[in-house]
Subunit: 312 residues, 3 copies
């Protein structure tokens, strides 16, 4: 693997996921000795920051962090007269970081106002373009592949039948959130040939390019029938880009909503607002897989670093 920017950097998704399932017992420690991972956070992070550092350390790598969540105003546009509030251009920043690091990771959230730029993954791709070392996504405007890989591993670990029914369900939230986690979940789930259904209110259909022929059902109860896994996530509207069209509380995931499922396992990438997105009666139940999911973030990061290190 050269980069890990999104699903298109991976040749064989099911093979990669199965490597992840086996990884905890098969750590290739020290393949990263003497190598440095640079982690650039243009937005805040807990799980990604911790798990990716931990994964790097497992492999013997050193980490350099740039936490610029409150101010690394980089210029991304070409040809600009830089006489305003952006003192450094991405061209220099990415090239310089590439001098000190063997692999770079970047987190860069979407604007949620400029759909075209967000869906070009403009900020992330400008960085990747000017970096001269492999680049991994720590969540970009539209993708979160390290999360999706951890999710796929979690499903493999917890499924009890060969092809479980999986529902990605929108849930209410108080703010406008990115579509990145949902987009990547759909992409990776499709690549795994899952039996996937998307449940969301009208107006919340994800990008048609990502959804493809995945069934979308606008009634949660219908979608949930006999589900084995419910993957919960809020996202803002793709159509009316970045808008919050609904805070419908009936979409909050509770034991009542889940009653029509096959005692579905419930997943969420965290952080989760309890009793807004998912009710306590689900969060505190045995059906909740959020903590194993979070633990698998270390596995997915380690696997991707190993794959890239092995080709350096």
């Amino acid at each position: 693997m050269k980069h890990f920017r999104n699903i298109h950097d991976v040749n064989d998704i099911p093979d990669l996921v199965m490597k992840g399932v086996r990884l905890s017992k098969d750590i290739q420690a020290k393949i990263g000795q003497g190598k440095t991972l640079g982690l650039i956070f243009l937005n805040s992070s807990l799980r990604t920051k911790m798990s990716t550092q931990k994964a790097a350390m497992n492999l013997g790598m050193s980490c350099l962090l740039v936490e610029a969540t409150s101010g690394w105003p980089l210029e991304f546009e070409d040809g600009v007269v830089m006489n305003a509030d952006r003192p450094e251009h991405i061209k220099e920043a990415a090239a310089v970081l590439s001098q000190y690091c063997d692999i770079l990771g970047l987190r860069a959230f979407p604007s949620l106002t400029d759909q075209q730029k967000d869906y070009q993954d403009y900020v992330f791709n400008q960085f990747a373009k000017y970096a001269t070392v492999p680049v991994i996504s720590l969540e970009s405007a539209i993708y979160h592949p390290l999360q999706a890989l951890a999710d796929m591993i979690t499903i493999e670990q917890h499924k009890t039948i060969a092809k479980p029914k999986i529902v990605l369900s929108w849930a209410p939230h108080i703010k406008a959130l990115p579509q990145a986690v949902s987009n990547s979940f759909v992409q990776w789930s499709r690549a795994m040939n899952h039996d996937l259904t998307i449940a969301c209110p009208e107006g919340y259909d994800l990008s048609p390019e990502i959804v493809g022929d995945t069934p979308i059902i606008h009634d949660q109860r219908t979608a949930f029938r006999d589900a084995d896994f419910v993957y919960v996530k809020n996202w803002s509207s793709f159509e009316k880009y970045g808008q919050v069209l609904s805070k419908d509380k009936s979409w909050m995931i509770s034991q009542e909503n889940l009653s029509v499922t096959n005692s579905a396992k419930v997943m969420h990438c965290l952080p989760v607002r309890r009793n807004v997105v998912i009710a306590d009666d689900v969060m505190d139940s045995d059906q909740a897989l959020m903590i194993p999911q979070a633990a698998n973030r270390e596995i997915s990061a380690q696997l991707i670093l190993q794959e890239i290190l092995s080709e350096l």
Copy 2:
């Protein structure tokens, strides 16, 4: 040792202190190899952050830091509808951090407004409750045991008689400060069977549960007579909880105040406001033990980490 939340986690205080006195010559390096220490700072830190990281590195451990001094708004209450400004619950946060770390440390200062909650050590204990790995206190609402252990080691290193007279003296400050350092000093000093006296103005008596039968004297000159050690600290009122009742400058520690002591050694946990809490003529004298005390923070942290690692 399983946890190091407060003095009650330690079986034999004098034994632990003497281990600390011997530790500098007896480093069990590399007992921490492959282990990760997560340090969570909900409040700012210099000595604790530096010394605990250094201690971990001495033992071969890796550190992961979460510096959330300006914003990790965790929800601590059960059953809340999380639709306001706290996007993550302590239940998930502590459980997730426990996935990536073998030991966790938390710093969480008191409110100084809600005595009941502060004296339950609510924030710290909620974190410890939901963490699934050993937890150490990096200073909680009411305790600072790593400081107290360093203080006890410092006294052992600098005492010239078997049972020196030790006075914990309140001193003025411009702000309302926690009682944590003073509480822990009293607890540990009592457990060491020190000849301890507390000197403070009226209204500044510490919690009766912590003080026990330790003499409290409201006249500094009387308390200081023939003292061998003066441990200086400001704290806000326990009775009129969190209030500043006095800024009486005559309580500032100067050579004049110390003239009735037995050339007492002077201790303070730092940072110290010179010429407010302690005068330059004391700070810059040979009687000042603040720097050796700070150096012993590395020793106390290393000792505690060793104790916990040895039972992992």
Copy 3:
């Protein structure tokens, strides 16, 4: 080497620079094993923070970071009653950090208002005075010797004749910037016995003590004639201390300005505002040496750490 505060800490500059040129092929790895480098940033940093950490890790050192760019209000004056907004004195801070670290680095920018204090390098020197371990400059009020050393190495690597013509040119900027990079470049270039010329508008002459007998030419075109290297930097006025006297766009470095040079290589310490300080047609050309310069920051930091470690 005991310290690396400025050029006066180095015995033989050309010898040090040549060591740097050879260093990439001759890493004395692990000389720093078990040693700790403390990096204190009172001002923000990208290249210095990353490259110095990387250099330390190359040598097997551990790093402890204090990023106090938005708030470590240290008191630097003696005898002050510390009852305002500065809770810790440099005396304690530097002494305590020296307990946990084998070498300390400090970044401390100038006020640009108090020339006398800035040119005493007051903040940096107060820190160095109270530290009890070797101290290295990560850029002080008036010097940036790690940058200058990297610059000298870069010139050696890229020169094609024994004694190239080098011009340090002022260039416009939107803000008042320090003179530190320019001061150190002049000092080190003179110590290397370069053929150095300074080009700047009237009012921008650097400190006479630093400039010595280096020719200053107030016409850029005249200064640039047949130059082999143009080192570009904005600085605020030394005479009218800290003021911006000119934003003359004709001083911006473009291919047109460079047409009278000997196809000069162009250097800048970064970050650079494109099309304000240097035009895109230079930045994106083969003449631009900024990225190799930045890469040499790792070399210069590693060399200095090795020199200091070898005498610890």
